[in-house]
Symmetry: C2
Subunit: 158 residues, 2 copies
DNA sequence: GCCTAAAATTTTAGGCTTAAAATATTTGAG
DNA sequence: CTCAAATATTTTAAGCCTAAAATTTTAGGC
């Protein structure tokens, strides 16, 4: 009798493919993130979280609440507090209350913040284009579509 | 002559698609990571980095050097030191020198570490399968293949 | 053998991250 | 009006993360 080569109950092929997909997604992400972090640091002496915050605020000229930022960036609210503290100390963002509600603070980019973000965003676009240069336009579109579908499904079942 | 409709130099369509791809990759990653972190915490009172380290060591019964771990997990070596310190304090891993080279330390899972990892890995596989359930087997395979190609290209040009 | 360079790891300082507790404010039920 | 619940944010404690400096050990040139 031929012994079966595995004792554990085997995952379906699809399950294994999904696990493999997750691992590769994670690794691709880490490779790209590490490279971006390095370039942001050496070129602009800043960090990825700071860049993310500036990018979010740039798209919101009227400002955002701390909780909006937290939700949009998928990070905790306590986390946003620290990043905004540092950006404010550098004069790149501004906290304002003038809402009638003294609990909230509306955060906005300063002029300096806008300018610095524009400079960094231009470089960032170029970096991404070069780093993902190995991905054809067609593949990029297909992948992006699949990821969008994934996110829609995810949010539906939350 | 037809006037060009935009003032700013426009990115090629492919460039924009690659930027969009990166943003979606990042968001998908964060959604999944946050969910896994939460489940590892509530179910096993542990963290993703700890899990990653155990997973790496599980595949290496003869142990790994600190620098192997650092390279494999794509994190800094100083970072690995702290995680291993904590895992060792909990009795899940063991540091050994017995190499002839007193600079290196070989890290191994203990029996308890192996058992705990097996338990968590089984749950982890199920979680991923459910979380990525919205991705068909075919899409998962296609995506995984593209990501593998991406990684190969990346490493070639490093 | 000696001494400098290389290699492996740890330490340090600073920032990011989270969950949970604390603070401050607003809202709404009665 | 009052006060408890809800909301928005900050603080806290602990862990993760990095780059750069420091430490320890090995290897190689001479």
């Amino acid at each position: 009798m031929v012994s079966t080569p595995q004792a554990a109950p085997e995952l379906s092929s699809d399950s294994k493919d999904r696990l493999r997909l997750w691992i590769r997604l994670l690794r691709a992400n880490r490779l790209i993130e590490a490279e971006l972090r390095e370039r942001l640091r050496t070129t602009f002496d800043t960090t990825l979280p700071r860049f993310d915050v500036l990018a979010a605020l740039y798209r919101a000229p009227d400002g955002m609440l701390m909780s909006d930022l937290s939700r949009f960036l998928l990070v905790s609210n306590g986390n946003v507090t620290g990043i905004i503290d540092r950006l404010a100390a550098e004069g790149l963002v501004l906290r304002a209350q003038r809402d009638g509600d003294r609990r909230t603070s509306i955060v906005r980019l300063t002029r300096a913040g806008e300018e610095q973000f524009r400079t960094m965003a231009a470089a960032h676009e170029g970096w991404i284009d070069a780093l993902l240069g190995g991905v054809s336009g067609n593949d990029a579109r297909r992948l992006a579509t699949m990821l969008k579908t994934f996110r829609s499904n995810w949010e539906k079942q939350e």
